[in-house]
């Protein structure tokens, strides 16, 4: 493509080499993506999220109505009806903040083992005094081979910047 005696050949070859390195990196990324996002047949199962409620960590009880907005000082929890799922299905639930940090969760366990734990609260990240503002995602996931493979319920709520 570029003659051997061309003075720019070394640059061309370095650039071509970098292109190959790039393809290797992007393929590795694709493999990583497919590992964590496997092509898994969907079960069609759906978990029932009964609501997101203000939560008292001391007593472990919920209060107030189902809400989609909270302030930074509020602790809140999702309530899941585990009994609506097939008893043997391995499931888990997790909370993520706007930085995609995991800030709460339970499982993975069989659905019938979780029936005594309907409330899944969030916790404040280490080093902080209150919740970070932004969108929070709550997901209930089905597990297979030790990793989540299917989201069977999802709920988004917002923590406001100002109380």
């Amino acid at each position: 493509l570029v003659p051997a005696n061309d003075e720019l050949r070394p640059l061309y070859r370095i650039m071509r080499g970098l292109g190959m390195v790039a393809i290797a990196i992007l393929l590795l990324g694709l493999v990583e993506f497919l590992h964590f996002e496997p092509f898994e047949p969907k079960t069609g199962a759906t978990a029932e999220i009964l609501g997101i409620f203000a939560y008292d960590p001391e007593s472990g009880t919920k209060s107030g109505p189902d809400a989609s907005h909270f302030n930074r000082d509020q602790v809140f929890a999702a309530e899941v009806n585990w009994s609506a799922l097939p008893p043997g299905m391995v499931v888990g639930a997790r909370w993520y903040n706007s930085f995609q940090q995991e800030v709460g969760g339970t499982g993975p366990k069989q659905a019938d083992d979780l029936t005594g734990q309907p409330l899944i609260p969030i916790h404040v990240p280490e080093g902080l005094e209150r919740n970070l503002p932004g969108h929070y995602t709550f997901v209930v996931e089905r597990y297979a081979r030790g990793q989540p493979v299917e989201v069977i319920a999802r709920r988004l709520i917002k923590v406001e910047r100002t109380p």
Binding site: L1, V2, E7, L8, P10, L11, Y12, I14, M15, R16, L18, G19, V21, A22, I23, I25, L26, G29, E32, F33, H35, F36, E37, R94, Y96, Q100, E102, E126, G127, E129, L132, P133, G134, T137, V139, E141, P148, V149, E150, V151, R154, L156, R161, T162
Partner: protein, 456 residues
């Protein structure tokens, strides 16, 4: 082959190049306009509003670019006025954009004063970075106006382009994918792909429109890095104000300060500057190659490695967690060097090799020009012109003998002689893309400058 014949041979290619540039520009503006309006109507989220209200800024930057580029061919008096007008447009655009970001994204929480302080903190560091970049081309420094236009497009246009794209990508993937590493990888793909395309398009436009000032790999690296630095400037302000708002009142200043250090000091020449420099390197090599396939390979490789570098940082950052202990500062530096260092090292290798090849070629052309005896370059001048330090010594010698005016005259003479050598090199490589008779015009210009400088 005569110069005229060479010029006529290449003349028909220029309009198509400009047409491609025009098409890209129109598509970009169209995409921005449509997506901003649709996002605003359908999503009604803050970033979309930012994109919508940012359109006047886009118009002002386009106007500034147009006026600035037109100024190149004007006489000195008109050029000065046109450049002042372009600077004013650009200044208004930047301030308006800052205002838009401030008002519609962060004002409610961080406040306008914080946004102004954050911007003011980033100006000296980014300014220093651009100054260093421009000095990298030891043979033919890029014009400040183009370096600034590149940085402004990186800061304003590229950031506008990615806001809507990343918002839509994020909205879709958050509702479809499993949270966790898979989603993180998807977000990293989005950042690498969309941001590098948005930044790279600015370098492509310079490559297509400003061919006279885009001579090879060194120019490509300088323009690419300038675009990346502009993008990094705006992103730094965005992250600083955002994190200040989140962590205020107790840790807001620390959070913004850490972002400033990470992006404007530690990461100034890494990250965005490196990635877009790789795109520029590919385009710069393509400028000097003949044939569609090698051009495609170098341009494609530059773009791919930029996307891959950006992706690897975003996707695999979590493999290098930072502790809360005494070694945190050390770990932050180590992480940047380990993860981004190889890409920056690749840019440095390409730059050093490119400069070496360019210097050798210019020396060869200067010797050939002197041997032809046309008066533009004399045998005795060749050793002086082929060395950066000898050129600098000549200028300072003129400064000592005749003051700043003499310094400027010698500098302009040296620049014209190197431009002539560059033009000859392009002709030798059969990649000439200038108007017919350019070499003769440069020789005439050198003759006039030599008379004025009286250094013969």
């Amino acid at each position: 082959m005569s110069l005229t014949a060479v010029g006529q041979r290449f003349r028909p290619r220029r309009p198509s190049r400009y047409l491609v540039a025009l098409a890209i520009t129109l598509i970009l503006i169209g995409v921005l306009a449509v997506s901003a309006v649709l996002d605003y109507i359908n999503l009604e989220v803050i970033p979309s509003r930012t994109a919508l209200f940012g359109l006047p800024v886009l118009g002002l930057v386009a106007g500034a670019s147009y006026v600035g580029i037109r100024a190149l061919g004007s006489d000195p008096e008109h050029r000065r006025r046109a450049l002042i007008r372009a600077s004013v447009y650009l200044g208004i655009a930047l301030m308006l954009w800052l205002l838009v970001i401030d008002v519609f994204t962060f004002t409610q929480a961080a406040g306008p004063l914080v946004a102004v302080i954050c911007a003011a903190a980033c100006v000296p560091t980014t300014g220093f970075g651009l100054w260093v970049l421009r000095r990298l081309d030891r043979n033919e420094a890029e014009p400040w106006r183009l370096v600034m236009v590149a940085a402004a497009w990186g800061a304003v246009v590229a950031t506008s382009l990615v806001i809507w794209g990343e918002t839509v990508w994020d909205d879709v993937t958050t509702n479809v994918l499993l949270p966790g590493p898979g989603l993180d990888t998807s977000t990293a793909f989005s950042a690498g792909l969309l941001e590098e395309i948005a930044k790279g398009l600015a370098v492509v436009l310079l490559f297509l429109v400003m061919r006279d000032e885009f001579d090879g790999i060194v120019d490509g690296i300088v323009y690419g890095a300038a675009v990346g630095m502009g993008f990094n400037f705006m992103e730094s302000i965005s992250y600083m104000t955002h994190l200040y708002a989140i962590f205020q009142p107790h840790q807001g200043v620390v959070a913004a300060g850490v972002q400033w250090y990470a992006r404007q000091v530690l990461g100034l020449f890494f990250g965005h500057a490196t990635y877009t420099a790789l795109i520029g390197a590919g385009l710069g090599i393509a400028r000097q190659l003949r044939g569609f396939r090698p051009k495609l390979i170098t341009i494609g490789s530059g773009w791919l490695i930029a996307i891959a570098g950006h992706f690897s940082w975003d996707a695999w950052l979590t493999f290098f967690p930072i502790s809360h202990g005494a070694f945190a500062l050390f770990e932050v530096h180590l992480r940047t060097i380990v993860m981004e260092g190889p890409f920056t090292a690749a840019v440095v290798i390409l730059l050093v090799l490119g400069l070496h090849i360019e210097s050798e070629a210019l020396a060869r052309q200067l010797r050939a020009e002197a041997a032809e005896g046309k008066g533009a370059v004399e045998e005795a001048e060749v050793p002086r012109l082929t060395s950066f330090w000898n050129r600098a010594l000549s200028r300072f010698d003129a400064l000592r003998r005749g003051g700043f005016r003499a310094y400027r005259q010698v500098a302009r003479l040296q620049q014209a002689q190197l431009e002539l050598a560059m033009e000859r090199w392009h002709r030798e490589r059969q990649v000439l893309d200038s108007a017919p008779g350019t070499e003769d015009m440069l020789r005439e210009q050198i003759r006039l400058l030599r008379s004025a400088a009286a250094v013969r």
